[in-house]
Symmetry: C2
Subunit: 374 residues, 2 copies
C-alpha cells in the first residue's frame, strides 16, 4: 500500500469541484529545482543556522521589492515578518493576542478551516453579514454594541468562499472603526495576486500605520503549498510583540532554508512568471465554469468571480448537503455553504473551485452536477 504524502485524496474518476488545492500540473517543480540549485551551490550556508526571528533580511528585501509595485505603495522589509503560511501565522497571532473565551469577528460566510484554528484557541466566533462589496460596515457597528472582539478576521479580496471583494471605501471605514474601538484586523490576502478581470483595491498592508492591522499572505497559491511559507506585514508596534515571542526566541525565525530558496525564485523573476501563468490558466477556467453553469444550471445564481479560486453558487430552495450526497453518486463533489457559516446557515449555497481541474474536467463536472440536481 502506498504511504500518504498529500492531504487530499480524490478517488479515481471522481471530479471534486469543491477542492481548493492547486492542480499538480501547476506546482512548479522545475522552478524550485533551479532556485535550490542556485542557492545551495553558493558558499554561504547561513540559512542553515538558527535564523533571525523576523525572517531572513535578504529574503524580506527581495519580497518587499516584489510587493511594492504590485501593491501600488512602498513596502519595506522592516514591515515584513516570515511565517509558515497563513494558517501558521493565524495560529501564532491567536497565541499572542487572545486567550480562551475571547470573542473574535469573522465574515459570514468565511473560510471554514480558519474557524477550526480559532476553535483550538477556545475563541468565541461572532459572524458579520457580507454582501457583494464584502463586510457590511453597519453590521459591524451593530455587533460592536454587544461584543468587544480581540480581532476581526477578514478575507478582503476574492473572498473564500464568496469570491467578493471588499470595496476601498469600506476598507477605510473598517480600519477607522478598528482604531476607535481598539480591535485588530487580521486580513487574509491569499488571493490578492490572482486577479483576472478586476484590479483589486490595495491590500490591508496599506493601512498598517493605523497600528491596528496585520496583513497576512502566503506562497501557497502563487508558488506551492508544500513550502509552508508566507509572510505578514504590520506596523513596528505590533511587530515588536510578534518577533519577541517565545517560540521564535527558541527556534529562531520560521523556515530559513525554504526562505533562502524562494528568495532565488523571486530574484530571478520566477515568481512573477509563475503568477502570470496561473492568472492565464485560471482566467480561462473561470470563463469555462461560468459558461457551463449558465448552460447546464440555469437556475443557479452567482456572480462571476473577478479573481481567486471560487464560484459561490446559490440554488434557491435546494439543500446543498443533500445535493452533495446525490452528487457523490454521480462522481462529482462540491462544498455545501453550511461549512462556511458560523451560524449553520447558507444551506442553499455551495462552493465550486477552478483550482484543481482543467477546462474539460470542469465541464464534465458541471454536467454531472446538473444530473445530480434534476
Amino acid at each position: 500500500m502506498p504511504l500518504q504524502t498529500i492531504q487530499t485524496h480524490i478517488p479515481a474518476g471522481f471530479i471534486d469541484l469543491g477542492v481548493g488545492d492547486p492542480q499538480f500540473d501547476l506546482l512548479p517543480l522545475q522552478l524550485l529545482r533551479d532556485a535550490a540549485q542556485d542557492r545551495l551551490s553558493q558558499s554561504d550556508n547561513s540559512f542553515l543556522q538558527y535564523g533571525a526571528e523576523q525572517g531572513d533580511g535578504y529574503f524580506r528585501a527581495a519580497l518587499a521589492d516584489f510587493l511594492s509595485p504590485r501593491y501600488g505603495f512602498p513596502v519595506s522589509y522592516e514591515e515584513l515578518f516570515v511565517t509558515s503560511g497563513i494558517s501558521g501565522g493565524l495560529d501564532l497571532l491567536c497565541t499572542l493576542f487572545t486567550k480562551p473565551g475571547d470573542t473574535i469577528f469573522v465574515e459570514e460566510p468565511s473560510y471554514f478551516l480558519a474557524l477550526r484554528i480559532f476553535a483550538d484557541h477556545g475563541l468565541r466566533v461572532v459572524s458579520i453579514r457580507t454582501d457583494e462589496n464584502g463586510l457590511v460596515s453597519e453590521e459591524l457597528i451593530e455587533a460592536l454594541k454587544i461584543h468587544r472582539p480581540k480581532f476581526l478576521y477578514i478575507i478582503p479580496t476574492f473572498q473564500n468562499p464568496s469570491g467578493h471583494t471588499l470595496s476601498e471605501e469600506r476598507r477605510a471605514q473598517i480600519v477607522s472603526i478598528a482604531q476607535e474601538r481598539g480591535f485588530l484586523i487580521l486580513a487574509d490576502e491569499v488571493y490578492q495576486f490572482l486577479s483576472y478581470t478586476l484590479i483589486p483595491p490595495k491590500p490591508f498592508g496599506a493601512y498598517i500605520n493605523s497600528e491596528h492591522v496585520i496583513s497576512l499572505n502566503t506562497f501557497s497559491k502563487i508558488l506551492a503549498p508544500g513550502l509552508r511559507l508566507g509572510w505578514l506585514q504590520t506596523h513596528a508596534s505590533l511587530m515588536q510583540k510578534i518577533v519577541s515571542c517565545g517560540v521564535l526566541d527558541s527556534g529562531g525565525g520560521m523556515n530559513p532554508f525554504t526562505s533562502a530558496i524562494v528568495r532565488s525564485v523571486i530574484e530571478t523573476g520566477g515568481l512573477e512568471k509563475n503568477i502570470d501563468r496561473l492568472v492565464s490558466v485560471f482566467s480561462t477556467r473561470v470563463n469555462v465554469m461560468d459558461e457551463c453553469l449558465r448552460q447546464h444550471l440555469p437556475d443557479a445564481r452567482f456572480t462571476t468571480p473577478h479573481g481567486g479560486y471560487f464560484f459561490w453558487v446559490n440554488l434557491p430552495g435546494i439543500d446543498a448537503q443533500a445535493l452533495q450526497t446525490r452528487a457523490r453518486t454521480h462522481q462529482v463533489g462540491l462544498r455545501p455553504g453550511i461549512r462556511f457559516s458560523s451560524q449553520n446557515g447558507l444551506q442553499d449555497y455551495f462552493r465550486l473551485s477552478i483550482s484543481f481541474y482543467d477546462s474539460d474536467q470542469i465541464e464534465e463536472g458541471i454536467i454531472r452536477l446538473k444530473r445530480s440536481v434534476s
Copy 2:
C-alpha cells in the same frame, strides 16, 4: 549595512562560550545540496502540494528505519508526526493540551527558551529538583501533593544546561507516576544522538504505550537548525488529537518540501555520516574544555558531560551574572545559571557550550574566563 540573516550575533574577536548554536563549519551545505538535487530532479512533485497532516509517509518511514536500530526498539512511522522543530512542537502541544493558568512541571534547571514558550501560553511553571541522575522522583511525588500539572517538560538525556542524564530506573518510575496521576510527559530528546562516552538509556519513545508520553526530537542538532524540521513520537490515542488540530487541517502537514529533501539525506546515509562527524568533533572539544577548565579554573566544580553541548559549571561563592559582566570586558561570554532557573536560583552556576567554537578558541575562551574570575 548587511541585512540580518541569522539569529545570534557575536562581535568580531568575542568568544561567546554561552552560545548553543552549532558552528557554521558544521552545517552540511553540500549534503543538503546533493539531497535537494536528488529529490527535485525526480518527476514526483507531490511534496509541493498540501501535505498529509501527520507528515509525508515516505519521510516518516525513512525516519522510522533510521531510528529503530539507534533507539534499540522498533519505531513505526505510524507513531511519528512531523513538526517544525521542538519549539514548534511544544507550541502546538501547549495550544492543544493546556489553557492559560494551567500548571506544568519543569526541571530545575531547565532550558530557558522553552520556559518562554510556556509563558506565552500563560502557563504556571513549577520546577522540580534534579541531581546527577536527573529529575528526583521523590521531589516529583512531593510536588504532586500540591499541584495538578497538565504536563512535565523534561530533557532526559545530556540535559540543557546540566548535561545530566536521567537514569533508566527513574524514567520508568516517572512514567508510572504520570500514568497514575494523569499528566503528560513531554520529553525533549534533542541531544540523544550526540553521545560521546556513554550510551544513554532508551529515549521516552520507549514508553509511548503508557499513553502519557510524547517524545520530541529535531534535526537542528544533527543536521541544521535552519531546516525547522523535527518530529514527535507518541501513541495513537494522543496522535489522533494532534493530527486533527485546526492549523494542520487548514495548512496541511508541517514542511513537506523540507521533509522531502531530508528524506533523501536519510535514505542516502548522509544523516548517519553527519552524526558520526559531529560526535567525533564534539568528543574532542569536550576533552579540550575539560582539560582547560581543570587547568585554568581549578575551583570550578562540574561533571564532564558524556554527550550533548554543555558544561554546567559551579564556582562556589561567585555571582555568575556579575562574572558575565566582567567576562564581557575580557571578550568572553557565558550563560548565568539564573537564566535556567524558574525560581531565580542557581546564581553560582553558569553554562558553557562546545558547539560553536573549535578547540583553540575554547582554550582561549577559558583563559579569558580565568582572567575574568581572578
